[in-house]
């Protein structure tokens, strides 16, 4: 209908304009900024591939990338294992099921800033709750956030704790999709609990696992508020994250071109890592 086309265009026009200004333009301008030096005050200067060249040799950037991989190597397995374990526990006939679910999910709805402030106190070397517990059972206190070897693992554990409820929900949805006939069939085959998990549940949950890996990887690359609040990137820059570095370049050093270059590099890294992960998991499935 003519009237339909007219109302359609009218109703979609504000969003189309918004997309152009706040999505398409920034994406294109990010690619332009890569070739500029700009402090937002003076006029931008064309810099060719300078930003890219500097980035390639920027020890701080690569340290941040390395830190992220350290983070992911702890966070991913921990996240999958904990989410899966809790989801399996919840997927039984239970009393107060919605209470358990709500309890696990609670940290998900709390602001990351609050969680970071809370955990800096829980992790505090002298007055922290965790070391208090350790001392009570006769162990030595650990300088969680001030020791270069424990700081990133401590943050990874905290992020796992914060997000696990979210992934429990995803796994629970997957568990509900496993047909009853499959469960009964494998039971009749005489499988043990472990075999049932290994040959039925785990493979059937593959789509959920891919989702968990993808989302927590993207999340890990976007790590910001936790190191910003808890460690400032230290000790010895061991918790410095890519976004923190990007933010520092933009906000503290006013290097817009360089910050944008970091952003583009980050997007490329995320894309590559997620693609490789999917390949690897896909291969694992074929085995």
């Amino acid at each position: 209908m003519r009237a339909e086309r007219r109302s359609g265009s009218l109703m979609a026009a504000p969003y189309a304009a918004f997309l152009a200004v706040f999505a398409l333009y920034p994406i294109l301008f990010a690619l332009v900024l890569v070739f500029l030096k700009w402090d937002l005050v003076t006029t931008p200067v064309f810099a060719g591939f300078d930003n890219v060249r500097v980035l390639a040799n920027d020890g701080r950037f690569w340290r941040a990338v390395e830190n992220t991989f350290v983070f992911l190597s702890i966070h991913l397995p921990l996240q999958i294992a904990s989410a899966l374990a809790l989801a399996l526990a919840l997927n039984r006939p239970l009393m107060f099921r919605s209470f358990w679910r709500a309890a696990f999910f609670l940290p998900v709805v709390i602001s990351g800033a609050v969680v970071a402030i809370l955990w800096s106190n829980l992790y505090a070397t002298d007055v922290g709750l965790i070391n208090g517990l350790l001392v009570r059972v006769g162990l030595n206190p650990v300088p969680w956030l001030t020791d270069p070897s424990t700081a990133m693992p401590a943050i990874a554990a905290m992020v796992t704790w914060k997000n696990v409820g979210f992934y429990v929900i995803i796994y629970l949805a997957g568990l509900q999709y496993i047909p009853r006939s499959c469960k009964e069939a494998i039971e009749i085959e005489g499988a043990t609990t472990w075999q049932r998990f290994r040959y039925l549940t785990l493979p059937m949950l593959l789509p959920q696992t891919i989702l968990v890996v993808t989302l927590s990887t993207i999340n890990g690359f976007q790590l910001f508020i936790e190191p910003y609040v808890m460690t400032g990137g230290g000790p010895l820059r061991r918790t410095y994250s890519i976004v923190l570095y990007l933010y520092t370049n933009a906000f503290a050093y006013q290097k817009m071109g360089y910050a944008a270059t970091i952003g583009v590099a980050l997007a490329l890294i995320i894309g590559t890592v997620v693609l490789i992960q999917r390949r690897v998991i896909g291969k694992a499935e074929a085995l």
């Binding site: 339909e4 086309r5 007219r6 109302s7 359609g8 265009s9 109703m11 979609a12 504000p14 969003y15 189309a16 918004f18 997309l19 706040f22 999505a23 398409l24 994406i27 301008f29 990010a30 900024l33 937002l40 526990a89 039984r92 239970l94 919605s98 358990w100 709500a102 309890a103 696990f104 999910f105 609670l106 940290p107 709805v109 709390i110 602001s111 990351g112 800033a113 609050v114 809370l118 106190n121 829980l122 505090a124 007055v127 709750l129 208090g132 979210f166 995803i170 949805a173 999340n219 976007q222 910001f224 910003y228 609040v229 890519i242 990007l246 910050a259 944008a260 952003g263 980050l266 997007a267």
Partner: protein
């Protein structure tokens, strides 16, 4: 054997639940503790005090930040629902030129990580002269591609005959959207409302970039700046300021936890 298993299961669940809940309880109790007691594990302070709250309230404009957060998150949520549903309706149910392009662009936007556009967005805000304005906090969030796609998906399932009937009854498209589609779309609207509000309520990075004036800061930003800048001075004060951010969310969560879980899980947005 079976009872033993059940006991083990419930013990495990209780320990797990405590790990998630206890830190928040400890945090709440710590805000009522005098400085000397903060480090203890005990949940109930021996000398309860409101000093931490008084200090926090006196040193930084948390009341103002609370209002800022509510205003920003509220405006964004209403806009995402009202304007987002108008867009979603046109994309789902009206044929017009450019619709396929708009659909594809919306999907594409979701694939681009926010960090890529962060700096260009920031320079844009600077060029608009929006630094230290509500516009900087609100305008870039007036539409949300995830929300539009979710609403569009829901709208696609509403039978065509309802639209036809409404047109025969003499309604225009806007009227059809708000009097027929909205009442039928309560599930998706509440999901979108919750994840939009929560996303905005908890956002830190963007405000840190575009707002420097204390009286314009939202809660999580003021909290971060306050705790990091040493304004808090003590754990108790810093945690007390965090409580301003947490308490409204926990109350809402306690009432609407099912909706919360559904909405966060279906959007993939985390606070």
């Amino acid at each position: 054997m079976k009872t033993l298993r059940r006991i083990a299961l419930y013990t495990g669940l209780t320990i797990a639940a405590l790990t998630f809940i206890y830190p928040f309880l400890w945090m709440a109790s710590a805000t009522f503790k005098p400085l000397s007691e903060v480090g203890t594990i005990a949940l109930f302070p021996s000398h309860a005090t409101l000093d931490n709250y008084r200090t926090m309230w006196a040193r930084a404009p948390f009341g103002r930040a609370l209002l800022n957060s509510m205003f920003v998150a509220g405006t964004i949520t209403i806009s995402v629902l009202v304007f987002g549903s108008i867009t979603a309706y046109s994309m789902a149910r009206l044929r017009f030129r450019g619709r396929p392009v708009l659909n594809a662009a919306t999907m594409g936007v979701l694939l681009v990580p926010g960090q890529l556009t962060l700096i260009p967005m920031y320079t844009l805000i600077v060029q608009f002269g929006w630094v230290d304005t509500y516009a900087a906090l609100i305008v870039p969030y007036l539409f949300n591609a995830t929300a539009i796609l979710m609403m569009r998906q829901f709208f696609l399932q509403i039978p065509q005959s309802l639209i036809d009937s409404a047109r025969m009854d003499g309604m225009g498209e806007m009227r059809i959207l708000f009097t027929i589609f909205w009442p039928l779309s309560r599930p998706v609207l509440s999901i979108v409302a919750i994840f939009t509000f929560m996303g905005s309520w908890n956002e830190v990075l963007w405000p840190l970039l575009v707002v420097r004036e204390q009286h314009l800061m939202t809660l999580p930003q003021l909290l971060t700046v306050f705790s990091l800048g040493g304004g808090a001075g003590s754990i108790g004060v810093s945690l007390a300021s965090a409580m301003v951010l947490v308490v409204p969310v926990v109350i809402a969560y306690a009432i609407l936890q099912r909706n919360f879980i559904e909405s966060m899980a279906s959007s993939g947005v985390k606070g």
